[in-house]
Each structure stands twice: as C-alpha cells, then as structure tokens.
C-alpha cells in the first residue's frame, strides 16, 4: 500500500518534469511556512526539501510536489536547506501539513522543539511517569487514553534522540 502510494505520488511529478522540457527550468526550491502559535520558525523561507512525519508514514516534499493534506503524527520533521549540509531536525507532536500546487508548503504545529534541545533523561523519566499513569488508570477512561498518547509521543521523542523506550 505504501509502495503504491509512493509511486502514485512520484509519477505525476516525474511526468510533469519530463513534459516541461522547454519551459523554464522547474524551480528546484520550495517555499516553506513552518509556524507555531508562539513562534514563527520559517515564514516564506526557501528550502530544498522537507521530510514530513505523516500519520501514514514519513514522506519528502520537494519543489513541484503533488498537493497533499497530511495529518502529522509525533515524529521528526527534517528541513534540508539549499546550502547542503546537515538537515535541521525538529520534533513535532502532531499538526497538519498542507502542500499547495505552487511549491508552497504550510506546516502548522501546536509545538515543536529542536531535536538537539531534547534532554534524553527527561524523556525517559516522563515516559516512565506516563506508563505508570497508563497502568493506574481505569481501562477505557479518558485518563488512560491521554496516558497512551503521552507514551507514544515520548516513545517517538526517545527514538529521535536514539533511546529505545517501550
């Protein structure tokens, strides 16, 4: 299913590029708007690629990408700038990413932290606390669902900094 989705996405892009031979060189950069409620991280910045943690899997967005509306899951958002080099990594707990057909991508998340700023010790201890809350909560209650969400977010935060929590 993932393969067919991948092919479905790449095919139009490849076709479009193949067709636009005489037309002006397809822009190789995309515009990124990445905003949090309390901080504007990128507003109209030109970058070369963004890897988005979609709910169905990670996918990369480059210039002339097919328009997509993606719900994000807790994971790492990677931004590759035009000046090649290490991609910038942000951990996001969720949000939405909308790619338009003019190579503009809007990513809106309630919160995001740079992966470098994450403290592994805090992640482990918070994960433990969430797991305790999960086992202590009544089965099927809202508290248990919240604890489960917490556990998932911390688990993926842990894998982002290289620790394996389960």
């Amino acid at each position: 299913m993932m393969q067919s989705t991948l092919l479905r996405r790449i095919a139009p892009t490849l076709t479009r590029r193949a067709l636009s031979s005489n037309a002006a060189e397809a822009s190789s950069v995309m515009t990124l708007n990445f905003n949090l409620p309390h901080e504007t991280i990128y507003n109209g910045a030109t970058v070369s690629q963004v890897i988005v943690p979609g709910a169905a899997g990670e996918y990369g967005v480059t210039a002339d990408h097919v328009p997509v509306v993606a719900q994000l899951k807790a994971g790492v958002l990677q931004i590759m700038h035009e000046s090649a080099g290490e991609p910038e990594k942000y951990f996001v707990p969720g949000g939405f990413s909308i790619t338009h057909d003019n190579s503009v991508t809007d990513i809106s998340c309630p919160e995001a932290v740079k992966v470098d700023d994450i403290d592994p010790a805090a992640v482990s201890s918070n994960f433990e606390a969430a797991r305790n809350a999960y086992t202590a909560a009544e089965a099927g209650s809202a508290a248990q669902a919240e604890a489960m969400v917490d556990m998932e977010v911390y688990r993926s935060m842990g894998s982002a900094v290289g620790i394996n929590l389960s």
């Binding site: 479905r8 905003n35 504007t40 328009p67 997509v68 509306v69 719900q71 939405f96 809007d106 809106s108």
Partner: protein, 307 residues
C-alpha cells in the same frame, strides 16, 4: 458709625456667601477638599492602569505578530475576515453559530460595546433574511450585554478566560464549541476586534464552514490525503483550523482590548486632572470666603469693644 456699618457689611457678606453657597450647590470647604483628595487618588489609579496597559500591549502585539503567520494558511480555506461595519451578512448560510470575543474585565473603553452592537445588528439582519443563528459568548462583559435581548439564543458562555491566551486555551474553547454542536451549523462566525494600531481597532468577522459537499462540490479535490481516509482527515483539519482561527481572533482581540484600555485610562486621567483644577478653584474661593467671614467677625467684635 463703625458699629452700624460693620454689622451691615457682615450681613451683606453673609448673604453674598449664602448666595454663593446656594448657586454652587456645594457645601463647605472641607467637603470640597475631600472631593479633591478622592479625585487625586482616582487620577493616580487611572494613570497607573494606563502604564500597565501600555506595557501589556507590547506583549500582546508580539503575540499577535506571531499568531498572524501561524494562522495564515487558513485564509486560503476560509477567506479573509470581513469588516463588520456596513456588512450585509448576506453570504451567511441558513444556520450560523455566532461567537463574539469579548473581555472579562471592564474599564476598557468601547471594545465590548462595538462587538455587542455588531452581534445585535447581525442577528436582526439574519432574522430579516429568514436565517437562524445561535450565540456562544466568550467573555463576561459580552454575556452581560447580550443577555438582555438575545438571552434566548445564547447557547453557552465562556467566562473567566485567563489572559494572555495560549493555543491550549483556544483548543479548550474549540472543544466547547464542538460540544455545543458546532458540526450542526452551516458555519461558525467569529466576531472580534482587530488591532490596527495603538489608536485604532476595527470589528471583523470570520466565517468558518465545515468541509462538506459530494462529487463536484467535494472540498480540496486537488489534494491527496494522508492518511487515505479523507473524511477523517477533513474532520480533524476542521477542528484544527477552527482552533487556529479562534487563537488568532483571541490574540487580535487581546491587543485591541489593551490599546482601548490605554486610551480610556488616558482620557480618565485627563478628565480627573481637569476636575481637580476646577475643584481647586472652588476650594480657594470657599477658603477665601471663610477667611473674609472670620475677618469681619473679628473686626465687628473689635469695633463693638471700642464702643
């Protein structure tokens, strides 16, 4: 001779004094003095409130400046906010949920009155067009003002909203709206004050419609959806969009509230200052009249002794 003149002078002075008292309607010098003192205290309070508002306005302006790019993606889906002034509300659908954003605290100038006036105008125009609407009020002042005439259509009210607002607050408000049956309405109209600059704010409204439509009308046809369950993603996107819009309106309203409070307190301090000047003149006149009376008493007493 002096004896005959002195009492006459005293009587004239006394009559003049009592005329003076009656025409002023003010009693003694002591009372005027007390009034001057209390007005000075009020002036101190209002001018300090103004300075506090000016400081808070800086913070609110910055929060608004971040909220605008955060919310910019919703404009493509919902359209630009419209000015309430001279609005006909004809583009509103059959059933609308009106969400006015007002303040909890007072002494903020006209921010709440403008919003409630806009809401009343909208309700009457909608009723004239044969459309229905309900209200979910945010803010105590709005609730108080709207309860009198439109109490029957107020579905919920959210008060004691802690400011400054955060995204979590907007999310909580959206949950309340969803619980009030937001999905049953054809559109949600958020009406709020939009901060233009420190002296000017305007009322605007945003229409947020749920994604719906089949076949040709299908929303966002060009886009792929990830995960594939389009209706689920659209549902979540609608809630997220609503939260983002409410957050932006909140930030805008907060900045407008602070600027309005600053202006109102500035006017109050100025008016208090003018009143103090006027009262001081009255006080001086009363004091001088008293001194004159005492002098006359002394002189007439002395002249009585002479004889």
């Amino acid at each position: 001779m002096a004896l005959r003149v002195a009492p006459a002078a005293k009587r004239i002075a006394a009559r003049g004094l009592s005329n003076f008292m009656q025409s002023r309607g003010m009693a003694t010098e002591k009372q005027i003095f007390n009034q001057i003192q209390s007005t000075k205290n009020i002036q101190k309070i209002t001018s300090s409130m103004k300075m506090v508002s000016a400081a808070k306005l800086k913070g609110d302006e910055q929060r608004l400046a971040t909220a605008i790019p955060f919310n910019s993606w919703t404009t493509a889906l919902c359209g630009e906010p419209t000015l309430v002034e001279d609005a006909t509300f004809e583009e509103l659908p059959q059933k609308t949920l009106i969400v006015p954003v007002t303040t909890d605290k007072g002494l903020c100038g006209g921010v709440n009155s403008f919003i409630t006036r806009g809401v009343k105008d909208c309700v009457s125009k909608l009723n004239a067009q044969g459309k229905e609407c309900d209200i979910v009020v945010i803010g105590d002042k709005g609730r108080g003002q709207l309860r009198r005439f439109h109490g029957d259509i107020i579905k919920r009210s959210c008060t004691e909203v802690i400011s400054p607002g955060t995204f979590s607050l907007a999310a909580a408000l959206t949950t309340e709206l969803m619980a009030a049956g937001a999905k049953d309405y054809d559109a949600i109209m958020v009406i709020y004050n939009s901060y233009v600059n420190a002296a000017v704010y305007k009322q605007r409204y945003k229409l947020i419609k749920p994604f719906s439509g089949e076949g040709e009308d299908e929303p966002m046809m060009m886009h792929e959806f990830e995960p594939d369950t389009k209706s689920e993603v659209l549902g979540d996107l609608y809630e997220y969009m609503l939260t983002s819009q409410v957050y932006h309106s909140f930030m805008d309203g907060a900045a407008a509230e602070q600027s309005s409070r600053m202006a109102a307190m500035e006017n109050a301090s100025k008016n208090a200052g003018e009143m103090i000047d006027k009262l001081t003149l009255q006080y001086n006149r009363a004091r001088q009249a008293r001194i004159t009376t005492e002098l006359i008493e002394i002189i007439s007493g002395a002249s009585a002794l002479e004889d």
